[in-house]
């Protein structure tokens, strides 16, 4: 069963220089209880995807197409109903940990507020001592030292890693069906990052939660995900099981990203690097958006937009694998 089903999703932003389409015709299924790593560089539309699913796009943004959360169509849902889905249905961990908590409330009060929402939606009364116990347990689940003390602190007294774990603990208290984590570890040090990744994986398995993990780092994605979705300039270029994508990447962009990962020493080899840089949404190349940087580019790539084709159970958007006749 799919927890999230996306069909022909396009997201537009109104800018002083005209409309830009930052996500273009995305089709993707997020299976229940699995983790999908959404990987892309800056400007690929990866964060926009999270905001579109939670309907938290900025006022200048608008989405077209269909996003289904189980059987509920989200894009046409009234705000009031959408608010009921946020939190307990879909929970989002934002990239910047410092802006995700209320700076003038203690951790305890914020966690209890979250629990209040959960119980209200279930039609139960909040029992404060029990809620406190529940909050304490989750704080120790996310491996925060001294949860008792942590409860009494204000966000500014915590480090980035600690806040991020408080937010994750809050997510767990709400027991969401789907958690979207937007670069939850990029503000953290590697040793803390490894803790958070291990924790999210463990919790996702224990609670059967569906996890959408948005990151710019293919290595981090490969450590958490079951499936990997590669975004480039608003288009999905590849989507498949993590093993396959990492060991046998099909799209030249995925191949390039993997090859340019630092390994070994400069004395032995030069790092592979893709030429050029990601395109601007104001100036997209004709045909395949990756064609100006692609080492295998041929005529058709610059004229016609490739469609998604299925190769060995994987989706890839590249003419190298599309044997259909040229139009």
């Amino acid at each position: 069963m799919n927890a999230i089903t996306i069909r022909d999703l396009s997201v537009f932003y109104r800018t002083p220089f005209g409309m830009v389409k930052v996500l273009d015709g995305l089709d993707a299924d997020f299976e229940e209880g699995r983790t999908v790593g959404v990987v892309g560089e800056s400007g690929s539309g990866k964060s926009t995807l999270g905001f579109a699913i939670t309907r938290l796009l900025p006022p200048a943004g608008s989405a077209k197409g269909s996003i289904r959360f189980y059987d509920t169509e989200l894009l046409s849902l009234p705000q009031k109903r959408m608010r009921e889905i946020r939190g307990t249905g879909i929970f989002m961990v934002m990239q910047d940990p410092f802006s995700s908590l209320n700076p003038v409330k203690r951790v305890r009060d914020q966690l209890i507020e979250a629990l209040q929402v959960k119980y209200e939606r279930r039609g139960e009364d909040l029992d404060v001592p029990r809620a406190e116990k529940e909050a304490l347990k989750r704080l120790s689940d996310v491996k925060l030292p001294d949860p008792d003390l942590m409860m009494l602190k204000y966000p500014h007294q915590l480090s980035g890693g600690q806040i991020q774990r408080v937010v994750i603990a809050m997510g767990l208290l709400l027991e969401p069906r789907v958690m979207i984590a937007d670069e939850p570890t990029s503000a953290l040090d590697v040793s803390i990052q490894a803790q958070v990744i291990a924790l999210m994986k463990e919790l996702q398995q224990n609670y059967g939660m569906t996890l959408i993990f948005v990151t710019h780092d293919l290595a981090v994605a490969s450590a958490v995900s079951d499936r990997i979705l590669i975004l480039y300039a608003g288009k999905m270029l590849e989507f498949g099981d993590v093993e396959g994508v990492i060991k046998e990447p099909l799209h030249p962009y995925t191949q390039g990203l993997l090859k340019s990962f630092p390994a070994g020493s400069y004395k032995d080899h030069e790092l592979y690097s893709l030429k050029g840089m990601p395109p601007s949404f104001f100036d997209l190349p004709p045909g395949c958006r990756f064609s100006p940087r692609c080492p295998y580019v041929f005529d058709r790539c610059t004229k016609e937009e490739p469609r998604l084709v299925q190769v060995n159970g994987r989706l890839v958007r590249c003419f190298l694998y599309d044997k259909s006749a040229e139009q």
Partner: protein, 333 residues
């Protein structure tokens, strides 16, 4: 003093550097009451050697003091105590100006380090202010071309019109234009996209080969450090915990913290389990007694919480570690 690590000629050498920042400003009343002041010990008694024409990496997590140490080594920051030698010469107030001419810096974030309203020409020519206009232009042109930018394309453009990768190239061009010997690279690739990061790393390697620069490369990414460096220093909570020849340190990491870093960095291996270690770096206001890593260390024993380990050479060569586990006398103490 004999060299701790290398038999190579050192360009920069620092001895017992300490940098304490005042944790809170104290007012007149506090001072009259002789209130004890608290200090953040960002760098606490560190000695480093930076071999000439080589790349030395300084690796650590946030708050390890790596950036503060780097800034002290390029004289941007005055240490609270300790000595810095540049090319064998003790750096003091009198020769500071001369010494500074021989070093340059590339900062982490080119969106912040370059003035968005200045033209590329102004940015690259700025450090060449003593030269004639013609000379400035030819030097700036050579520098921009060395970093792979087309001079005519970018010369009159503003920094705000360029992408992150291009801006970082401009920052590098600005650094190499005055012909420095020593370049501090403070996380030069961490703000860049993955596909652009490798371009910049390759460029740095190429420039070093061509012009024989000495690099000090500060990074939190141990895999980047491994790729780029010949020598490596690993910092933790204001102290050097391990140092040595890069290959040796990676083939045989000794300090438990270095091992932790290597185990927790995600690599491109699906299903590979990361082995996180509990805990966080200690507060620098009030570091734990003895070894600063001891509260997180799985091998900690009595002595670790009482006595601070010194950085000592191991295996008779280019590798040193500050850990009681490797002290041959540990059993008798």
């Amino acid at each position: 003093m004999t060299s701790l690590l290398s038999s190579e000629e050192n360009l920069v050498k620092a001895e017992d550097i300490k940098k304490y920042f005042l944790a809170e400003k104290s007012g007149l009343l506090e001072r009259l009451a002789h209130k004890r002041m608290s200090y953040i010990k960002a760098v606490d008694g560190v000695s480093v050697e930076i071999p000439k024409n080589r790349t030395t990496a300084l690796v650590g997590e946030s708050g390890s003091g790596k950036t503060t140490l780097g800034r002290i080594l390029v004289t941007l920051e005055t240490p609270s105590s300790g000595k810095i030698y540049y090319g064998g010469l003790l750096v003091d107030e009198k020769n500071l100006k001369e010494v500074r001419k021989r070093m340059q810096i590339v900062f982490q974030n080119p969106f912040e380090s370059l003035d968005p309203r200045m033209s590329i020409r102004e940015i690259v020519e700025e450090p060449l202010f003593k030269l004639s206009a013609d000379e400035k232009q030819s030097r700036a042109k050579a520098a921009l071309e060395a970093v792979g930018l087309n001079y005519n394309d970018v010369y009159y453009r503003k920094a705000r019109d360029l992408s992150g990768g291009q801006r970082q190239r401009v920052a590098i061009a600005r650094a190499i234009a005055p012909n420095p010997e020593f370049i501090l690279l403070d996380e030069p690739t961490s703000a860049l996209d993955a596909s652009v990061q490798s371009q910049v790393l390759n460029l740095l390697v190429e420039l070093k080969k061509k012009y024989n620069y000495t690099y000090l490369f500060i990074t939190h990414n141990i895999l980047v450090a491994r790729y780029i460096s010949d020598w490596i220093y690993v910092m933790y909570a204001g102290k050097i915990v391990e140092a040595g020849n890069t290959e040796e340190v990676f083939e045989k990491p000794l300090h438990p913290y270095t091992k932790l870093l290597l185990r927790s960095v995600p690599r491109l291996e699906p299903g590979a389990k990361l082995e996180p270690m509990e805990g966080e770096a200690p507060s620098l206001l009030n570091p734990p007694p003895g070894c600063r890593f001891s509260p997180r260390c799985p091998y900690a024993f009595d002595r670790c919480t009482k006595e601070e380990p010194r950085l000592v050479q191991v295996s008779g060569g280019a590798h040193a570690v500050a850990c009681h586990l490797y002290d041959p006398n540990r059993r008798w103490k």
